[in-house]
Amino acid sequence: MSYFSDIYKGIKTLLTGMSVTGNYFIHARKGAITQEYPDNRETLKMFDRFRGEVVMPHTDDNRHRCTGCQSCEIACPNGSIEIIWDRAVDPETGKKKKKIDKHIYHLSMCTMCGLCIEACPTDAIVWAQNFENSVYDRSKLTKILNQPGSSVLDGIED
């Protein structure tokens, strides 16, 4: 007798499970969360806080906010950020002031922990939402964040 009740129970639970999948089969696009990714590049918008890569925004006249205080370099857990800096004479006060020569960012080593951006006292570096970082040559992932010939905005002190 248990033979037949086993068959009955087996078919019953099978149909119960299939009623769930069948329901989704009929309403296929209802509640779908999948995105057709490479095709929706134009409309795809990442969240504001999404950690894509570290960038340094520049104004139109090629000025940035980095004073070269190296807080980000110290905060970085694995040395993804290197800053090459120099001292230049301030024409107004005549004092020597620190300025960056190169703000080097190794995207290939970055763990996206966000500690550098939290550490920056002048908000010179921010997260960009770009995530398509695959390249054929690893050296392309070492980026110099400050643009050539750029200088720090007036009045930014750390």
């Binding site: 769930v20 969360i33 969240f47 806080r49 999404f50 950690r51 996206m112 922990c113 966000g114 500690l115």
Partner: protein
Amino acid sequence: MTDQQVQNKIKTEEYFINMGPQHPAAHGVLRLILTIDGEIIKNVEPDLGYIHRSIEKMCERDSYQQIVHLTDRMDYLSSHINNEAVCLTVEKGLEIEVSDRVKVIRTIIAELTRIASHCLWWGVMGMDLGALTTYFYAFRDREMINDIFEETCGARLTMNYNVPGGLMFDIHPNFVKRTKDFIAQFKTKIPEYNRLLTDNVIFHKRTKGVGILTREDAISFGVSGPVARGSGFSSDVRKHHPYSAYDRVDFKEILFTEGDTFARYQVRMMELWESVSIIEQLIDNIPEGEIKAATKAVIKLPKGEFYQRVETARGELGVYINSTGNKNPYRVKFRSPGFSNLSILNHISKDVLIADLVATMASFDFVIPDIDR
């Protein structure tokens, strides 16, 4: 000669077979050296070290803020809870009291993490037993949690949202609404999970009475988390040693006494409801308060030893920090749940079939980077 005599004349011997390091049912690079007699397992020897990254040693190099992001990479499915464990330990050392707002937000996100982790486990458990559908259903719901994390923390898996003293930044304005939407939707999905897998007869036959772990063995091997609670061992750190906001919410500790694979399965399924209930109690009135207690830029813990344990999705995670008063810890030790739970595997997998070992392992919910650190 009779058949029996022929069989006695055939020489049989046990042989070794490697399950892993690359195996679809191993959930990572775990190598099990099986000693097999026919299809009956005689011995299981886990071989670790394939993804050892020396996280504990790296912690000795890093400052206390930098340690946090390394713990993301241990148990990546409960990364927020790992972060919380380190932060609680450091806060204990510094004797900082974080604000109520931080405590509540940490608890909500920790429970969301637990739901996401159990969702993934449920999908993979079905997949290990041959039901591929569960995987897609679980990932559909987990995606919503990942979106909540991405909007608030900026990352989906390795979040690094906790810092010693509080949180890195405040929650996103959409956080409460999104979480409520998710909870409302998820409550309709758990019964669906049950209809799809829990009530299935084939699933019962594969799991009931398989891999029985007794309460005594669970205690003596140091097993924790849902695995221990499936054997009736009350071991929930949230209940017995409340941290963050767990002392102000009302939730049950799920206990089953059977100790088999199905009991461990049921514990996790019931914990989904408990996590939902905890979030519902907290989400409506997140208290106001500062998001980050004032800490020095260079944190130096006083000389001494500090220990804090939390309940991750897999069990009890302990963080031990030995400080000599410098900006780096002298020694950091993580007591990870996966490692202790793995130690019982050989004990309960003797004289079972290979397919039953897969079912048992699925119910243990191993995350290999957690075991191997």
